[in-house]
Amino acid sequence: MTQETLLEGWGRWPKRRCRVERLDPATAHEHAQALKAGAIARGMGRSYGDASMHPPLTLDALDRNRFIEFDDETGLLVAEAGVTLAEIIQTFLPKGWFPMVTPGTKFVTLGGAVAGDVHGKNHHRVGSFGDHVAWFDLLCADGKVRRCSTQSNQDLFLATIGGAGLTGHLLVVACHLKKVPSAWIRQRTLPAENLDAAIRSFEANHDATYSVAWIDCLARGDQLGRSLVLLGEHAEPEELDVKHRPNPFSVPVRRKKTMPLDAPSWSLNRWSLRAFNALYYRKGSAPPLERVIDYDRYFYPLDAILRWNRLYGARGFSQYQTAIPLENARDALAEQLELIAQSGLGSFLAVLKRFGPGSPQRPLSFPIEGYTLALDFPLSSAALTLMDQLDEITVAAGGRTYLMKDSRMSQKTFEAGYGDAVDAFRALRSDIGADRMFASLMSRRLGL
């Protein structure tokens, strides 16, 4: 059965009417060929921009969500690509297993996690999601399903991780889970009065399992880049509150709240944002700076507010996430923060994080060793202009922006950020015929 559905990414812009079919390996290519159009697979639609939609044909992969195998010696999980991290956690955390890498939402499919080569708060220690994928089955342009790993079809394996779904449709993914002592995280907060202090704090705490900073993107002067650096370790059962010790893997169920409607556009302005950010910093800097919180509140604070993307109103928003190489990070970030603070645009949630070594062998994988800054901008022409200015600083510093968050960068900026890898990716697509069978709104925008 076919339908035209209005699809949008998590940032709610752009929106397009797309023809949607279920991703069925038996018929996927028939549909695409009948329509003479490329197709893109879509999971939870958590990428922010236009990566998981293609108006001529978008293939919904969500009902391909069966677990296939789990090895409780090695932690290797084999599952269909439509399985979400939420399902993995629900099933395997009670037995002491957790994803090696998780982004800031658990509502992401394995397919999406591979296609975005997503990263988490432990990137500086263990790399991105793709570093923990043993193999996957990919439905290729010629209709064959290929098992890809570092041993076989290696080029395809590397290009697909971070490849935004443009090399084929991911069908089955084998990835490693890690053994954890409990469902709880011991979190330590290190207030940092400005950007330099935050960077010092990250560099001094490279051993922390998890690290991330909430950064006040509107503070200026001596306080430019003031942050709360949050470190996390998996808590041992004996560190838990007495009442949780007998069942260290069970956590209190949070009541989900749903953002019932779009926030009015006037509710976000430089005063409300500045006040929120100042208050948040003050509250976060106050004791207790060390506490034990459950994994859900630690990793996924926003998942508790379903449809929180309505916070930014009906016009939608864009998340700007940039990665700057280590040697240029301090200066480029200071320049970007100054521009953002001046503009008064910005968000409740700006995040700063130290990346470990990236994966240059994977052409479109985002992380590079250095710092990454991510923040939301409600869409407006002023915000779009600001992001273009931020792009210039990013590119001049040898950095790049993240495809899974992006909806607006130009092809030129993209090519400057990802360099020769873009041509290598295009060449691989053309060699295997993927350029004719797989396409998204994003691939068309960026000339992929």
Partner: protein, 247 residues
């Protein structure tokens, strides 16, 4: 309510609703017997359910429209189950099916004749079991009033609802609970492609949780309140007015 160690037989185990209900039962410890066409052999649903829930899962081949094979299927079961979920359903294609003999027969055989005959045999055996037992039949609001959009499917489901109602009365004095479930819109492969109204639509997991809760509470009908109100209004509309509506 049967003990959590008693197996639950799921007929039509491939549907999304069946999978979700099976998961609910398995999570509290019931072993699962999954019956569907070509269920044995490489069965991803069985492996998935076993991993998700740690339940013991067995698969049985069953084509509910192959009436002659029902006895062999029942004989293959290790014992008489205490709980049966019948989630067989086939929407068909209204426009193509209306007036087409084979297609109409297929819709009626899948939604009515097959399940009715199989449940009759199961009910007879289950009612003789000591203690309580339960049959959950998944019918549909589509059976509440024939509508132009899906009256082939709807009339088969209307028949199935009436059958369950009769079965319930027949076994009222025994420990066998017969529960009719009327889902409205559940996001499944059957409703794929329909433009569903948000407030009247639910996802299979939360739907399944409510169904299992209702069964364990001994209820005989599970019918979402909003749908019950809506369909009561639709049922009460005089035919002359109903004819002109576009529900």
């Amino acid at each position: 309510m049967s003990a959590a160690t008693e197996p639950v037989l799921v007929i039509g185990a491939r549907s999304d609703i069946a999978r979700a209900i099976a998961t609910e039962y398995a999570r509290v410890g019931h072993p699962l017997w999954l019956a569907a066409r070509n269920a044995t052999g490489s069965n991803r649903d069985a492996a998935d359910l076993a991993l998700r829930t740690d339940a013991e899962v067995q698969s049985f081949d069953l084509d509910v429209t192959d009436l002659a094979a029902h006895d062999a299927f029942l004989a293959a079961l290790p014992s008489t189950p205490a709980t049966v979920v019948c989630a067989v359903g086939f929407l068909g294609d209204q426009e193509a099916d209306a007036g087409d003999m084979d297609a109409t027969q297929m819709v009626v055989a899948t939604n009515f004749t097959g399940p009715a005959l199989l449940l009759e045999k199961l009910a007879a055996r289950m009612s003789e079991r000591p203690g309580k037992s339960a049959i959950i039949g998944i019918s549909s609001v589509a059976g509440d009033r024939g509508r132009a959009k899906n009256y082939v499917y709807g009339s088969a489901k209307a028949g199935f609802s009436a059958y369950l109602s009769g079965l319930r009365q027949k076994y009222a004095a025994t420990g066998l609970q017969i529960m009719t479930v009327k889902p409205g819109f559940v996001r499944t492969s059957m409703t794929d492609g329909m433009d569903l109204p948000g407030p009247l639509t639910t996802d299979p997991d939360s739907f399944a949780a409510r169904v299992v809760k209702a069964q364990r509470a001994g209820r005989v009908i599970y019918y979402d309140l909003r749908w019950r109100v809506l369909m009561s209004i639709i049922r009460l509309l005089p035919e002359k007015i109903f004819m002109k509506t576009k529900f």
